[in-house]
Amino acid sequence: MEWTDVYEEHADNVFRFLMYFLGNREDAEDVTQETFLKAFHKQDSYKQQASIRTWLIIIARHQAIDRVRRKQRGKLLHNLFRREQPEQIALPEEMLFQSETKRELYLEIQNLKPDYRAVVILKGIQELTNQEVADILGWSEGKVRVTFHRAIKSLGGKLMKEAEAYGMV
């Protein structure tokens, strides 16, 4: 397994997942790099039954969750001393030329709880099969289907509310 080739082939795919999971370019870039370093150090534990693509996303998701946790811990400490405005999620530039609905969706995905967010990205956006998503999240295929359904319901409801608020319905 040539590592630079693995990087070439999968870097964009990992990055894409993280752009949706973390919601900003800076974190997504950092965690993409961490993912490949981690994967390299853990290559002995790579089991051939999963595809490399799946395996990398598993690592990326764990790294991303870790990062969010670390950030929140830092913020908690920070907020003890200073009250600040809640952080605004900025839209990445790729989203700026998209339809209103897509921009709304991107932001709402960030507000989903992590399990919903992961399944929406993997199944909804990256269009992986139930089996692949189940492998990545360590769930049964049934749980993938059900959770995906709930996540979509939640997104649908939020978009409706948004539309009502702006008087578009």
């Binding site: 990087y7 990055f15 894409r16 870039e29 370093l37 989203m95 609905t101 269009e127």
Partner: protein, 274 residues
């Protein structure tokens, strides 16, 4: 499972969400960083094995020596003290080193030269996996660096002292250009054949134009610290100052060019790592 019309719309929209891509620059620097850390890791593994082999060899020599001199416990009644194990080479360490900048005889180190040296040392510390805490200019030709991290001490010192002298030579061996003629924006490219040529740019496009027109159809050579890297035949006159080179270790070449050659030769005056 049934979808409402609103939910179906969400699913459709999700399927058409934009795909993000790493910017080419980020992709490149990240690739370099990943590759560098991998090389570091495999080198570390290598030094550990080499260190292990050395201590085994040492143990064998000592055992034989002691046995011959009859001082092994049970033979001569003496006792062996002191560890034989070699310390591991790569570990979390604090690194302090002082460098003497060596100027040519009769010359003094210029202020710009000093700044360039400090900048080059800082960059190299980062490339070697050290995080520079502080650098101090002790005198106009002495620089001290405090740093730390997980690193291989010998490798770091070697990294600091490597000149990274890049030279372009004519077929007759005359130096036509060197690292100082290059911009520090070298990068790897991807060509159709899956090769990774390094694109380098001359500060002065006219210099490259003159070289390529004078030696058109001939073979020039490119050297790094006295090692031949490539000997391309010049096909045509290059006007825009850019040239792509196929070299054996493109990533390393890029980081060396961009980290910059040392403006002066350095000597380690004092160095501790613990």
């Amino acid at each position: 499972m049934e979808w409402s019309s609103e939910e179906r719309k969400v699913v459709e929209e999700l399927g058409e969400m934009p795909t993000f891509r790493l910017s080419p620059e980020k992709r490149m620097t990240m690739r370099g960083a990943v590759q560098h850390r991998m090389q570091q890791a495999s080198r570390r593994r290598f030094t550990l094995i080499a260190g292990g082999a050395a201590s085994v060899a040492l143990a064998v020599v000592l055992t034989v020596g002691l046995w011959q001199s009859g001082s092994l416990p049970g033979i001569g009644g003496g006792s062996v003290t002191g560890g034989l194990g070699q310390p591991s080479h790569s570990q979390e360490m604090t690194f302090v080193a002082e460098f003497q900048i060596k100027s040519a005889p009769g010359e003094t180190v210029s202020e710009e030269g000093l700044h360039a040296t400090v900048a080059a040392l800082k960059k190299r510390a980062e490339v070697a996996g050290l995080i520079p805490w502080e650098m101090q200019t002790i005198s106009p030709d002495r620089v001290k660096i405090w740093s730390g991290g997980t690193f291989d001490r010998d490798l770091v010192v070697q990294m600091f002292l490597q000149e990274a002298k890049i030279e372009f030579k004519s077929p007759e061996g005359e130096v036509l250009a060197n690292g100082r003629d290059l911009k520090s924006n070298a990068r790897m490219m991807f060509d159709q054949a899956g090769q990774r040529p390094v694109l380098i740019e001359f500060k002065d496009a006219a210099l490259l134009r003159d070289i390529t027109s004078a030696y058109r159809g001939q073979q020039v050579s490119i050297w790094l610290d006295g090692v031949l890297l490539a000997s391309p035949t010049i096909q045509e006159e290059l006007l825009n100052g850019q040239v792509a080179l196929a070299v054996p270790e493109p990533a390393q070449m890029v980081s060396l060019i961009n980290a910059g050659a040392l403006p002066y030769e350095l000597e380690v005056v004092q160095q501790t790592a613990q």
